[in-house]
């Protein structure tokens, strides 16, 4: 009998636990991490329809109004955005340099949902407008999870949208 290959019985679904949502950083913690001791001023992001069309054209992705928020710091820009993937909702923060180059990306929150739940407005509504928790719980109850790799292409697409929004809405079009 094999000694190095352990066959695990199929676990009863009734006893299985959902993969926990993770809160990594609060908005304030991410700002502190990326722009320590700097003053951050919120920017009103109100792209015109033409600008939205240009962002969508240059990134090949859909622009979701309302998801993206921006701040001006002394040494750059701070963005927060939420993206929906095949099986998850991810909130992330991007720090751009004053010249608009990506300096850092940090995930703020990660929530999983399957079976189309992630696309349901009702499921998403529970997270809209809520404040990010201040405390990040590190405890024995939080499991690290091993499984097949999940793609994060939607986060990569989101970062490209942040860059296009910066270039077209905040920095403005290049002089002719």
């Amino acid at each position: 009998m094999s000694s190095r290959i352990v066959m695990l019985p199929v676990a009863a679904l009734a006893a299985a636990q959902p993969v926990e949502a993770m809160i990594y950083l609060s908005l304030e913690q991410a700002q502190q991490l990326m722009f320590a001791h700097e003053t951050l001023t919120p920017l009103a992001l109100a792209p015109s329809n033409d600008q939205i069309a240009a962002i969508e054209r240059s990134t090949g992705t859909r622009f979701q109004s309302g998801a993206l928020r921006a701040w001006k710091a002394d040494s750059g820009y701070f963005f927060v955005d939420a993206v929906i993937g095949k099986h998850d909702l991810i909130t992330y923060a991007v720090a751009l340099s004053a010249q608009g180059a990506v300096r850092e990306v940090e995930i703020l929150e990660y929530r999983e949902a399957y079976g189309g739940e992630v696309r349901s407005a009702r499921w998403r509504a529970q997270f809209v407008g809520r404040h990010y928790g201040d405390a990040v719980q590190i405890g024995r109850d939080i499991h690290n999870v091993s499984g097949a790799t999940l793609s994060c292409q939607h986060v990569t697409d989101g970062i490209r949208r942040v860059l296009a929004t910066y270039a077209l809405v905040i920095a403005g079009p290049a002089p002719p």
């Binding site: 290959i5 690290n144 097949a148």
Partner: protein, 278 residues
Amino acid sequence: MSRPPGVRRARPLLGTLVEICAVGAAPRRLNPAIDAAFARIEHVQALMSYHDPASELSRLNRAAASRPQRISAHTRTVLSAALRLAQLSEGAFDPCIGDSLERWGCLPDHGYARPRAGSWRDVELAAREVRFRRPLRLDLGGIAKGYAVDLALEALREAGVREACVNAGGDLRVSGARAQRIALRHPLAPQLTGHTLLLRDAALATSAAYHSRRRLRAREVSALVDPPSRRPYLGAGSVSVCAPECLTADALTKVVLFAAPQAAERVLAACGARAYVQ
């Protein structure tokens, strides 16, 4: 209620979310250590990304069939481990399956010279150079993630972090005197976790088709390729491998999926590893 002080952060790297958890000191001490660990992973990504046409790996896929290419010490370490495991497993693990994954739309086609059915045997690795005997698509995706996890954990250790976990989208390694509980995704319902394992100062990687399986024209594909037949793995099972290092654990999941049981047993023994199949 007290809880151990710690920091848990995540970044999008290596095509997935990489999570680093460090425990045992104040955040102002742990955050720079975590920054250094992420920087090591970014370095591996810059060298070995298949998606990035500017990576060292892409240079090999573009040019190593025409003339020998110089490679960095990191890429050499990973490629040399990949070739050793390919030999040990008699090809059940093979890093030269990138052309299949390109055809299935799992990896980008950068338009380099068309590969002709090749295998790990067509890779000639010298001290500082590598050459392909024919146009190939080398893909370190099945092993480099594990190596990046190992380097990140090393960076944390160098910074004085004694207890940590680095998890690159399911391939992970833990350090510290305390055993850490790892939950395995349920292969039939991957949003749930069923079994849990206790891991102490070791690595665990998992391969399964539940996240990558999809329809492509009239057939089904996944991101897991059986090297000799070039067929996708479409089974409902999930293989997790526990090994001292994540590089080994990552590659060995493919050996257990695709090698005959006796061969897999032999390779696991040679690497001091154990597999959990569900």
